[in-house]
């Protein structure tokens, strides 16, 4: 009985007693959720358009951030460095399309998945060779990212909001909004959706697959750059950042691999669920459950809906 009480009653009583703590936890969960969503978005973009499960998305985040910081450290002005970093991601997209995707067209998914592993290895070596393997500080000041915290009196307690977190949430939201408009309103966006629906049909109406792939990899590169700046500002730019890419996987599962709104809502659910779970239920089992809670949440959702919350319905025929 005691254990039932501890699992089902006590955390909720605690939530009711200290609503400010609850709001603080919710806020932190939301912020990390938005950032997870941003990384997941990179995966979704590429998966939708080319059916490639891009394992290299995590290292692309690191690589983009490293390029930005590395250029700045060599005396390039911050905004020029930003533009150059975007250009580097464009070059990367073109090279990946030429060297990796084009020769492997029409291969099984798992082979392309493996090819992105190769890309990951290559980028790790390449990034370290050029910029060094040491962790770097993100150039928050030069990019005019706000710092500091505000404390707000709320519900009988103080809730702290990091300015950086607020900025991250806003920028990520703008980014997601822009992508949504890009996908639904522009000519290229329509072409991307056509490719996502069917490669063959898209080809038959004159859409160039190669061009589309470059565009999505470039878009994913820009998303990676933004994600890299945000995560880098929070926890420094180093190769350990690519671990968060793995955190984007349960987000993908929840949202479904092919849905942009799914990635966002999945990100929020995972972010909030993870923080709340760790804070209120973590101590029961000795803490540290943040590492696997997200996956278990995703797994439970999957058992109910195997294609994710917003994924396309799976229809199988023989």
């Amino acid at each position: 009985m005691d254990i039932l009480y501890k699992v089902f009653i006590e955390p909720f009583v605690f939530m009711g007693e200290a609503p400010d703590l609850l709001i603080q936890t919710l806020w932190e969960g939301l912020v990390s959720g938005v950032l997870y969503a941003l990384i997941a978005l990179g995966f979704v973009l590429i998966f939708k358009a080319s059916g490639v499960f891009n394992f290299a998305q995590g290292i692309m985040v690191v690589f983009a951030a490293l390029t930005l910081v590395g250029l700045y450290e060599r005396g390039v002005p911050a905004f020029l460095a930003l533009i150059l970093a975007v250009l580097v991601m464009l070059v990367l997209a073109v090279v990946v399309e030429r060297v990796v995707l084009r020769p492997l067209v029409n291969q099984p998914d798992i082979i392309l998945f493996m090819a992105t592993f190769g890309l990951t290895y290559f980028l790790i070596g390449f990034g370290e060779l050029i910029f060094g393997g040491n962790p770097k500080e993100m150039i928050t000041d030069a990019l005019f990212l706000p710092q500091g915290t505000s404390e707000v009196d709320m519900l009988g307690g103080m809730v702290r909001f990091q300015h950086l977190d607020i900025a991250a949430a806003i920028i990520a939201s703008i980014m997601i909004g822009l992508l949504a408009v890009f996908f639904s309103k522009t000519r290229i966006g329509r072409a991307l959706r056509a490719v996502a629906d069917s490669h063959k049909a898209a080809l038959s109406v004159g859409i160039s697959l190669n061009q589309i792939w470059v565009i999505v990899w470039f878009a994913a590169g820009i998303v990676a750059l933004v994600a890299g700046i945000m995560w880098g500002a929070r926890s420094g730019v180093s190769f350990s950042l690519q671990i968060i890419a793995l955190k984007a996987l349960p987000v993908l599962i929840l949202g479904g691999f092919t849905s942009i709104p799914g990635a966002i809502i999945g990100g929020l659910i995972i972010g909030v669920g993870e923080k709340i779970g760790e804070f209120y239920w973590g101590p029961l089992v000795g803490g540290g459950i943040e590492t696997w809670l997200a996956y278990v949440i995703a797994l439970l959702f999957l058992l109910y809906r195997p294609q994710g919350l917003f994924g396309e319905k799976i229809i199988e025929r023989i």
Partner: protein, 361 residues
Amino acid sequence: MLYREAGQFKTNYVADSAIFPLRQDRLGLGLIIVAAYALAFMGSDFLLQAVLIPFLVFSLASIGLNILTGYTGLLSLGTGAFMGVGAYACYKLMTAFPGVNVIVWIFVSGFFSAAIGALFGLPSLRIKGFYLAVATLAAQFFLQWCFIRIPWLVNYNVSGALEAPLRTLFGIPIVGATATPQTRYLVVLTIVIVLTWLASNLVHGRIGRMWIAIRDMDLAAELMGIRPLQTKLLAFAVSSYYCGVAGALLVFLWYGGAEYDVFNINQSFFILFMVIIGGLGSLIGSFFGAALIFILPIVLGIVLPAMMSPFGISVGADVIEHLRFMIVGALIIFFLIVEPHGLARLWQIGKQKLLVWPFPY
């Protein structure tokens, strides 16, 4: 010239369905096994300890994952954790019952891993493809958390690490600090040969055909009367058994002691690389994959500095390390482009070419 089919007639069904229908193949296999045993007495300690033992251990783990991913078509990223279960189970059994021979416990520990694997395989009935891969990540992270948080698993020792106690076979130490690389290599080699032979019989028999049917199209297989739940869970169990034994070998016969960190997510990816590069659905591919992924970086580490020195470029160890990453990455992509079906397919093509040589077909 020597590699010819001519004159070898198949006169009964047993000969027709043999795994190695050619006399030369059987001879070659025998030679390889003899050579592998001979290496124990001729190879240096470095070769045995740093190259051959890990190669065999990773080959075994790759065979395990290949049964799941290559033969049954279920993508798993929890290999590292399943290896860990085997290692921790073996440690608990070894220390709880010191009287029983350690070889027995290495084989038994695989069953614990099989049980856990089957448990985490349950979602595979509903989930497929990359979704399943992420579901197995739950196993990976949850089990790794268990290894850290449950001190009972390491008998409450302060360091929190697995330590190999001294264990002997026929009076010769095979596990523990005093065991020589030679004896450990012989033990690992024998276990790997036995388990590979078992795996070969499994995948070529009725069970293997069931797995392949599920892989090719599970809906059709179900209509043909193959029960998907049992078949998939069996694949998970057998695969995890192999991974578990490989994990136990890794800790007790290679490292001699290890922390939870050995069984992290990178280990899972590492094994998956080997399986895909080697060839999905091929036992010999597992060995090729392990050789390429594990031995290639070692060779590069030795060859690269030697290659650079004639040009007067002296480079630091860190640059070599980075170049190694780049080359391995580029080679993975290169091999996939050349032959997406893995090294095993290249091997098959090579053998076919050799059979008809000097004619093109």
